[in-house]
Symmetry: C3
Subunit: 304 residues, 3 copies
C-alpha cells in the first residue's frame, strides 16, 4: 500500500503508524551513519503561505539527509500578490512540474487537501489554518512516545494547556484513540478546555478521559506530560496561569519513568530549570521530527 | 559561438533559437532519466529585486536537475537597504566571486544589461522592469509552439489580452517576426491594443498582422491561442471584458489541432473548464520553462 | 587544538591566525580546481535575525564549495513572531538537531555567545548587534593583507571613515595589535574618531598609532588604505565630507605597492574611477571571504 499524499492524521491506521515508526527508527540510524545520497535526483518544494521556519527547516533537513535538493519559499503569498485571485490549484500544478514532492503550509483549513487533489506529485501538509491539520507534528509526538515506551497500549497521558484551539493536541488525542487502554487527562483552565467533538470521538472509541484544572492532581499518575502554552488573554483569571507552569517543584511529583513533551516553541509553561532533567524530552522530540519526515518522504515515494 | 549573457530576446538569431530548442528537447529527456550530476560543482545565484517565486523556482529547479547548487534571495532589496545608494554593479561584482551564474530580476528596465556589463560570470535576465525584457519567458513560449508543431514557419497565432503593457507578448511578437509566413492577430479592447513600435517592426519584416477586438472572429483561424490577462481598471467598458474569456463555448470554435497557451498566472481569462481539454497546454508550457532554462545554462557555460 | 565556535576575534591567537590563513590559501586552490564533495553529508543552517544577503551568500557559497547543504532563512524573526518571548537558546537547540553548523546573525550584541553556550554543534558569529562582533569580516580583512604582503609585521595602515561605531574597524585594530611594529593611522572627522577603549588597548600592546583628520597627509605613508563609509548625519560640517573620498587624484599620492581595501558596500567614499586601478583590492577582498569561511568551517569540524 502506497501513501499518496499526507494530508490529515485520519489517514493513518495502526499498521501504517507502526510501519512509519519502524521506518523512522531506521532513518535515525541512517542519519547517525551520515545520511544517504539515494535520493540525490529528487527535488522538494516547500511552499509556505505563512512562515514557520522551524517546521520548514525540519522538512528541508529531512530532504537533505536523504540526499535531495530543496526549492524553498518563506513567503509564498508573493505567488498570489502579483495577480489577485490566483488559485492555489494553479500554483500547485506549476510547482509539480519542477519538483518531486510539495510540502505546503497554507493559511486556510483544507488548503492541503485542495493541493493534493490536483497534484501529480505527493503533497505533504505542514499545517493548514488554525482549525486545520498539522499531521506531521502529531506523528512525531506519537513516535517520540512509542520510541521511549516501545508501545502505545495502556498509555496514560496528561495533555495540558489551551486545548480548545490547540491544533496539535486535537490531532494527538485523535491518534491516541486508535490504541487500547489509553487514559487521557485534559488539564486546562475550564474556559479553554478540550472541545466536545474530540471528547465525543473518544467516548465512541471507549477511550478513558478526565477533565481537570489542577495539574498537581495528575502529574503522579501519568507516563507522559504533554505541555502546551496558554495565551494569557484567553484566561479570565490570569493569576491562576502560573499554576499551569511545569517547574522544578512540580517535576518532583512526576514518576521517574515519565517524560515531558512540548511541541515548541515554549514561553513560560516549562521552566528552564526543567531542561536538564532526564525526563525532559522536548528537544529530542523536535529532533525526532527529522526522522519521521524522512520516513514520510520515503513512504510517499517508494511505498511500504 | 558562445552565448555570454542572456539579456534580451534580440540576441537570439534563428540558428541560435534552433540550437536552443534542440538542446531543450535533450534536457527534457535528461530529466526523464533523473537529471545529471555533471554540473555539481557549479553555483547559481538568484538575485531577485522583486519577488517572483514561480520564475525563481523554475530557474532553481533547472540548476538542480543539472546537479548544481543555488544561492537564493527572495528580497534582494536588503542588499541596498543597509546602505542607501549602493550600486547594482557592486553587488554583481561581489556575487560573481561566489557563483558561476547570476540570475537577476531587477525592478528597472535595463537592470540586467547593467549587470551583464560588469559581471565576469554569465548573467541571465529573469525580467527587468515593466517596460523591460523577460527573454526566457518568450523563449519558452516559442519552444512550446515549436515542440508541438515542429516548425514556426507559416504559424498563425492569436495574441489576446492587455497587449500595450504586456512584456511577454511584445517579446513574443518580436521573436515571431524572424520566421517566414507568420500571421499574428492581436485581439484586445482597442484602448489596450499592441503599441505602434511593435507593429512597425512587424511591417518592416513583412509579417502579416491584424488588429481585432472580437475573439470569436479569429479562434477558428489560428494554430495558437495565446491568452493573457486584462486588468479591469484598464478598460473603459468592463461589461465587455467577459467576452475575452476563453471558456468551453469558445473552445468549440478552435481547430482540433490548435493549442491554448498562457504565461500564467491566470485569473478569469481562461475558464477552469478548459483545463481538461487536450489543447490546453499552459501547464505543459510552464514545465517547458524548466527545460529551456536548463538549455540556457548549459549554453552560457559550454557554448554550442 | 580544535576551534569549537567562532564568536569573537579575541579567540584568535597568532598561531591560529597563521593556520587559518594557510588553510584559506589551500581553499583558494581547492575552489580553482572546482571545490570538493568531501563534506556532502553536512548541513549548514544560516539563522539571520537581520538580513545581510552578502554575508549570508558568502557563508552559503563556502558551504557549497565544500560540497555541503544549506538551510537558509533571511528573516529568522519569524521564529519568535509566532510566540512572544521565545528564546534564542531554544531555537538554537532545535536547529542543532537539524544541522552540523549554525551561522547566526543576531540583532543584539552577545547573541552569538548565547547561542554558542547551548549549542551542541559549532556556532559561527556572522555579526551580532551594532556594538557587537563580526569576527569573520576582520579575519578576511587580515587575510587579504597577509595574502598580498606575506607578513603582517611592520605593516602601516590608514583606517579611514566613521570609526567610533565601526564594528569592522574596531575588530581589525584589535587583531592588528597582535603583530610587531604595526603602525595605524586613524583618519576621521574628529567627532567620529576611534573610541578610547581601542586606543588604550593599542597603548597597552605598544602599537604605534596617530589620529588624523587629513587623508592626504597619510596616503603616501601606508601599505594599506582601509576605507569605510561615513554617514553624513554624523558629521557637523558636511562640506568637509568630500575630502574623505578616495578618488583618482588622491590615488596618485599612494605608494605603487599599496592596496585599497573596503568591507563593502560602499557609497561615495571610493570613486568608481578607482576600481580599475591594480591597487583596488576590495572585490578581491570580498572573494577572499569565501576562502576564509571555508577554512573556518573545516577548522570547527576537523580541527587543526
Amino acid at each position: 500500500m502506497k501513501l499518496q499524499h499526507v494530508v490529515e492524521s485520519q489517514q493513518f491506521t495502526v499498521p501504517l503508524l507502526m510501519e512509519l515508526f519502524d521506518r523512522s527508527r531506521r532513518m535515525e540510524r541512517l542519519v547517525a551513519r551520515g545520511g544517504t545520497h539515494d535520493y540525490s535526483n529528487r527535488i522538494m518544494a516547500t511552499l509556505f503561505y505563512e512562515p514557520s521556519t522551524r517546521t520548514r527547516f525540519s522538512f528541508e533537513a529531512a530532504m537533505y539527509r536523504l540526499g535531495g535538493k530543496v526549492l524553498s519559499t518563506e513567503q509564498a503569498k508573493v505567488f498570489s500578490s502579483e495577480v489577485e485571485g490566483e488559485q492555489l490549484e494553479d500554483t500547485i500544478r506549476i510547482l509539480a512540474g519542477y519538483s518531486d514532492v510539495i510540502v505546503v503550509r497554507h493559511n486556510e483549513a483544507g488548503g492541503a487537501k485542495r493541493a493534493a487533489k490536483v497534484s501529480p506529485v505527493p503533497v505533504i501538509n505542514a499545517g493548514d489554518g488554525k482549525g486545520g491539520q498539522h499531521p506531521t507534528q502529531a506523528l512525531l509526538d506519537l513516535y517520540t512516545i512509542h520510541r521511549e515506551r516501545k508501545s502505545l497500549e495502556g498509555l496514560s497521558i496528561a495533555i495540558i494547556g489551551e486545548l480548545d484551539e490547540g491544533r496539535t493536541v486535537r490531532s494527538l488525542a485523535y491518534l491516541l484513540s486508535k490504541f487500547d487502554r489509553v487514559k487521557i487527562y485534559f488539564v486546562s483552565p475550564p474556559e479553554v478546555q478540550m472541545k466536545p467533538d474530540i471528547l465525543q470521538h473518544l467516548e465512541e472509541h471507549q477511550v478513558w478521559y478526565a477533565l481537570e484544572s489542577d495539574i498537581s492532581k495528575v502529574l503522579g499518575e501519568v507516563d507522559v506530560v504533554y505541555q502546551t502554552r496558554i495565551r494569557p488573554e484567553r484566561v479570565a483569571d490570569r493569576k491562576k496561569l502560573a499554576s499551569y507552569t511545569l517547574d522544578g517543584r512540580l517535576l518532583k511529583a512526576m514518576r521517574s519513568d515519565a517524560m515531558v513533551l512540548h511541541p515548541l516553541p515554549r514561553t513560560v509553561e516549562i521552566d528552564k530549570a526543567v531542561d536538564d532533567d532526564p525526563r525532559a524530552l522536548y528537544f529530542r522530540q523536535a529532533k525526532n521530527g527529522l526522522f519521521v519526515r524522512m520516513a514520510l518522504l520515503t513512504l510517499v515515494w517508494d511505498g511500504e
